[in-house]
C-alpha cells in the first residue's frame, strides 16, 4: 500500500520512483531554497522527475461522452500535446498528438468530434483507436508497415470521472496506487451533477509552485484578499484563516477550513447579495445534489498541480501548469448546477467574476513575489506551520529531485 492517509506530513510517498520520505529538514524548518522558484536547472529537473513521471489530471470523463469526442491538452513543460479520444468501443485512449509521417499534430483545436484524424499536412489518416488507416499514394512507401505506425499511445486511467494521463512510457505505479489514501476525497468530489461550467485561463508571471501556494494556505487571505474574501474566512476566533485540520497522503494533501458560518454579504452590496441569495435558492431547487459537505476539504491538493475546492455554487477546480521556470498557466473550472432562470444565470456570472477577481489578487502578488525571489536577494524562504501543505509539497519535491539525482548517479 502506497501513499497512505495520515494526519501528519512525515509519511512516505511513492510517485513511481519507489518509496521515499519527504525531506526532513524542510518539514522541520520550513526553509526552502529560493532558486527552487526560478532556476532553469530546477525547472528541467522537475520536468523530468515530476511531469514526465506523475499521473496528471486532464479532463472529466463526461466531457467526452460519445465515441469520437476528443480533447487536446498541452503539457507545455514537456512540450507534449496530448490527444484524448473516446473510441467506437467507448474506451478512452490517449495519444501523442503527432503524425507518424513527419510529426504534424493530427488533431486541430482544443476539442471536437471526429470520425478519424486526418493529418493536415499530407492526409495520413488515423482511427479513433490510433491505428493508421490510410496513407495517400502508399506505393511510394514500399518498405513501411502501416500496422506499426499508429499514433504513439500515452498511459491513461480514470478515477471517479477524473481522467489522468502519465507521460512515462512505463508508469512506475498505477493511478490507483498513485492516489492512494487521497482517493476517497477525490471520489467525494461529485462534479457530474454540475453541468454548467465557467472555465477561465490566465498566464501568470510566476513559477507554478508560487501559483499553487495560496491555494492551500489561509495565511495570505487577510492581507491579499482584504477587499474580497477576507470577511468570508477571517473571524475573531480564526484571525489568520488557519485550517482546522490537515491530512497528507503520500505526495497529496488536504486542508479543512474553519469557515465563517455567520457570513452574509453586506446589505449595500446589492449585486453580491442578490447573487448569493439566488445561488441559495438554486441549491434548494436541486435539493443539495452533489454539493460539498461539512466534511469536504477547503483545499484538496492532488500532486503535482491539481486543486479542488468547494465553490460558490458547487465546486471549483484549478491547475497550475508550468510554462517556463518563471511562468505558469492557470486553468480553472467553476462548476454550477444548470441554471434555469435569468436570475440564476446572473448569480453564476457574479460568482465567476468574484472568483476571477479574487484569483487576480493572488496572481498580482505572485508576479511580484517572483521578481523578489529571482532577484537573488535571498537564498531561501520560509513556510510556517500554518503553511504546512505547501511546506509538505516542497519537502516531497526536494526528496524526489534528490532521489532522481541519486538514481542517475547509480545508473552512471
Amino acid at each position: 500500500m502506497t501513499n497512505i492517509l495520515s494526519a501528519t506530513p512525515e509519511g512516505g510517498f511513492d510517485l513511481g520512483h519507489g518509496m521515499m520520505m519527504p525531506d526532513a529538514a524542510i518539514l522541520r524548518d520550513g526553509r526552502v531554497a529560493a532558486d527552487s522558484f526560478w532556476s532553469e536547472a530546477r525547472h528541467a529537473a522537475e520536468r523530468d522527475a515530476i511531469y514526465r513521471r506523475c499521473w496528471l489530471y486532464m479532463v472529466r470523463a463526461e466531457d467526452l461522452p460519445e465515441p469520437g469526442d476528443y480533447v487536446v491538452r498541452n503539457v507545455e513543460i514537456c512540450g507534449v500535446s496530448v490527444l484524448i479520444v473516446r473510441g467506437k468501443d467507448d474506451v478512452l485512449r490517449a495519444f501523442h498528438n503527432v503524425c507518424r509521417h513527419r510529426g504534424m499534430p493530427v488533431a486541430d483545436g482544443a476539442c471536437g468530434k471526429a470520425e478519424a484524424f486526418r493529418c493536415p499536412y499530407h492526409s495520413w489518416t488515423f482511427g479513433l483507436d490510433g491505428s493508421l488507416k490510410a496513407i495517400p499514394n502508399q506505393r511510394r512507401f514500399p518498405a513501411l508497415d502501416a500496422g506499426d505506425l499508429g499514433l504513439v499511445p500515452i498511459a491513461i486511467d480514470v478515477f471517479a470521472g477524473f481522467v489522468f494521463i502519465n507521460l512515462d512510457p512505463q508508469p512506475g505505479l498505477s493511478l490507483k496506487a498513485f492516489l492512494g489514501g487521497i482517493a476517497p476525497l477525490l471520489e467525494a468530489t461529485t462534479l457530474a451533477p454540475f453541468t454548467h461550467r465557467d472555465s477561465l485561463s490566465y498566464d501568470v508571471a510566476a513559477n507554478w509552485k508560487a501559483g499553487l501556494d495560496p491555494q492551500y494556505e489561509g495565511y495570505h487571505v487577510g492581507t491579499v484578499h482584504a477587499l474580497t474574501i477576507r470577511e468570508i474566512s477571517v473571524t475573531p476566533a480564526n484571525p489568520f484563516s488557519e485550517f482546522r485540520k490537515m491530512a497528507f497522503a503520500g505526495p497529496h494533501a488536504a486542508g479543512w477550513s474553519q469557515g465563517n458560518p455567520s457570513w452574509r454579504p453586506r446589505a449595500d452590496r446589492i449585486v453580491q447579495s442578490f447573487a448569493v441569495q439566488t445561488m441559495g435558492a438554486l441549491a434548494g431547487r436541486v435539493a443539495g445534489e452533489g454539493y460539498p459537505s461539512a466534511e469536504t476539504p477547503a483545499s484538496l491538493a492532488i500532486f503535482p498541480n491539481f486543486m479542488i475546492h468547494p465553490g460558490a455554487g458547487g465546486w471549483f477546480t484549478q491547475q497550475h501548469w508550468p510554462l517556463t521556470a518563471q511562468s505558469h498557466r492557470w486553468t480553472a473550472h467553476y462548476y454550477y448546477h444548470a441554471p434555469v432562470t435569468a436570475s440564476e444565470r446572473l448569480a453564476i456570472a457574479q460568482a465567476t467574476a468574484f472568483g476571477r477577481d479574487s484569483g487576480m489578487e493572488d496572481f498580482m502578488v505572485m508576479a511580484r513575489q517572483q521578481k523578489g525571489l529571482a532577484s537573488g536577494a535571498t537564498d531561501s524562504f520560509y513556510y510556517g506551520e500554518a503553511e504546512m501543505l505547501p511546506r509538505h509539497r516542497a519537502a516531497v519535491i526536494r526528496s524526489v529531485l534528490n532521489g532522481a539525482q541519486a538514481n542517475m548517479r547509480s545508473a552512471a
Binding site: 480533447v71 461550467r197 472555465s199 442578490f274
Partner: protein, 114 residues
Amino acid sequence: MSASLPAAFADLEPFAHLWIGLETMESRYRARQDMPFDALKQFYDTTAPRLADIMAHLDAFGSDTLPSAEARLYRMVLGLVEAAQAVEFFASARLPGAPYPHDVAVGGQAALSD
C-alpha cells in the same frame, strides 16, 4: 437614442449602449477596465437598486431565448455584474496593481488548451 430596453426600464436607457453590444464575459471585463470609475459608479447607483425588478421581469420569460429588448436588458445587467465588482469591492474600475489591460480567457474546453 432609440429605445432598446423594455418600456418598464426606459429610465435606464442612457446606460444601455455601454453594455448591450458586449456578448462575452471577457469583453465586459475589458470594458470595465476601460471605463472611468465614476461612470461605473453612476451606472451601478442607478441600476443596482432596480436589480430585483429587472430580474423579476426577465425571469417571467422562462429559460428559452429572451425577446430582443429583454435580451439587451439581460446583457446590461451582466454589465452590472462587472460594475458591481468595481463598486462593491475595489472602489476602482481596475484591480489595484493589476496589469492594464489584461484578459482572462473564458470558455469551455477550447479556452484551456492553446
